[in-house]
Symmetry: C2
Subunit: 353 residues, 2 copies
């Protein structure tokens, strides 16, 4: 090994989910929205002034910050915008998790939390979910350096009622609690309403799921002005111009259209509930998901076998071989009615054969 | 102070350069390119499939990585792409500068290096430029944790010949040397040719200056496969989907058009040389800039006074009150011939009044 290599930050490289190039694939593996972006996004695209790309974008991302604040009835000083919620959470880890005490998150959860903690050398403790795959607030009532959990949790889809989220925040006023609400729009109640009551809660959301904009990379955090200021200070010390001019213009239009947002979100919920019924009939069991995916296990057929059979049919779902406790589950994103019908029809044939 | 605030990473917030909203301003303050992006960028914009924004972008950014590799006759494994060169350099600091020994960079240089080092708690030593504002390779021949310098240097514009860059790399084989070539296309010789000879050099460039794409946020690093792999591992541990779908498509077209690139770059060089002649006649002196800006001081009139007089005329240039050694200089970006003529005409009147 060369000497300079000794100074390299060695990390366990994270492998992102498969992005098949084949367009005929029914892609139910990365929780993308099956519907296109809002109409205004197309208009913004048409009206975009390409000449202006020669100039730097607004480092404060003001236009988009203001629109998000409008949507949630907040002040613009209570909103931070980043390049997807991964960027927002990574910046939050860097900004807020600097204690010698471990931060807490569930053992079965979004698989990036331990990656960030390892990379940034933040001590952490993975708190086991209950036997029933639930987050128990009592398990988070202890001395720690901070807390993060998704609500609904990933990949279980299980939702915590807002009172339970509030209990965790209230029990840990000495540290920051991050509520990762990537999937909250599909049936949960957001903790954004708590930010004026508690100064130790940061709520993170994304345009990637409920706003059909995964390709544009837009995430945001909501919290009290002080938290947002700290986050911006660190962002400005890392990269002042994170969000490109295109994402700012298109993002503004995506958040403006409340009607389309509600319509597509409701449609996905409807399709999810139909899919739940069908899966149950076929012998699957699962947590009552309040997200845009269902995390299901079959009474007889191993998840891995189903995963592979589906893949042969060009139907991609997500399978996690680790940790052991979830290795017999499939995470199935909610697509269009037509896509889900093809999935169910195939499973029916496969299971009954 | 609340307890959670004790765990906050406190930083000296960086304030980005002024972005006036008034469109009539002659903007010579942030080294942007006065010419629009290549024609292909407009075509890519027209042909972009907005529907696809619902999907995640390619985390490996393969299309763009391959085009950059093509342009420089490299393998794709020798190219890393990030959200502007600031993102690329910040990731490089995080990846490679983990020694207890200080990293070295010039005392007068790009003002982000010490910001990153402070934020990431990397020890550093600012090596004074010579009296003549030059980087002396002898000053970099010492035990250290790594080296970074821009070539040409910012904000002086002074270029190091490639042999001198090679001397610094050769003298420091035990550590990584980052050559920040944001301005190299305006008259310098790139160190990209050295990456097959030395495994300890990383060359960073950007689409923001010579490719008229500051608004799209595209930067890249070139180095041996091992370095690029380490960088990607850290990137995938921070945010797998950094570059949005729009930037990938437009970036491909921006790098493809070699002819337009050379034509606009040559035009800027021509305008710069004319501007140098005029500034000299007016009593300015400066390093012989090989970048898209001139860093000039006047024999009689203080820089701050000129800066303010220009601003009143709606001509924005950059003035740094710190450090002391450069507080009597203006950094003037090279605009169109017409813009530079307006600048020179005003200075003439002002100085001769």
């Amino acid at each position: 090994m060369k000497n300079w290599e000794k100074n390299v930050r060695k990390v366990e490289p994270y492998t992102p989910g498969e992005q098949p190039k084949n367009a005929t694939v029914i892609k139910l593996n990365t929780n993308e929205n099956p519907y296109p972006p809002a109409k205004g996004v197309y208009d913004a695209w048409k009206n975009f002034d390409v000449d202006k790309l020669r100039l730097y974008p607004d480092p404060a991302i003001s236009k988009l910050v203001e629109k998000i604040a409008d949507f949630y009835n907040l002040k613009k000083e209570q909103v931070f915008v980043g390049v997807g919620s991964d960027d927002v959470i990574a910046m939050s880890f860097l900004t807020f998790f600097n204690s010698n005490k471990p931060i807490l998150f569930p053992d079965i959860t979004y698989s990036f939390y331990d990656v960030w903690a390892n990379m940034l050398r933040i001590p952490y403790e993975q708190v086991p979910l209950t036997k029933d795959f639930e987050i128990d607030p009592k398990d988070y009532k202890k001395d720690c350096g901070g807390i993060i959990f998704p609500n609904p949790n990933a990949p279980t889809g299980a939702l915590l009622p807002l009172e339970t989220v509030e209990t965790i925040i209230k029990n840990n006023k000495e540290v920051l609690v991050i509520v990762d609400e990537a999937y909250i729009d599909f049936g949960g109640e957001s903790a954004t309403g708590l930010i004026n009551k508690y100064d130790n809660v940061l709520v993170v959301q994304t345009f990637s799921k409920s706003r059909s904009m995964a390709g544009a990379r837009i995430g945001f955090a909501i919290g009290n002005e002080k938290l947002i200021k700290y986050l911006n200070d660190v962002k400005y010390s890392f990269n002042s111009y994170t969000m490109n001019a295109m994402a700012i213009e298109l993002g503004v239009k995506a958040i403006e259209d409340r009607e389309y947002f509600e319509q597509t979100r409701n449609k996905i919920i409807e399709t999810r509930e139909w899919t739940k019924g069908e899966l149950k009939k076929l012998g699957f069991s699962f947590k009552d998901s309040m997200s845009n995916f269902i995390f299901a296990t079959h009474e007889k057929i191993p998840a891995k076998e189903l995963f592979e059979a589906l893949k042969k049919e060009n139907i991609y779902v997500r399978y996690f071989s680790n940790p052991q406790r979830i290795s017999n589950y499939l995470r199935i994103s909610i697509g269009t009615d037509k896509q889900m019908k093809i999935l169910i029809d195939f499973l029916k044939k496969y299971i009954e054969k």
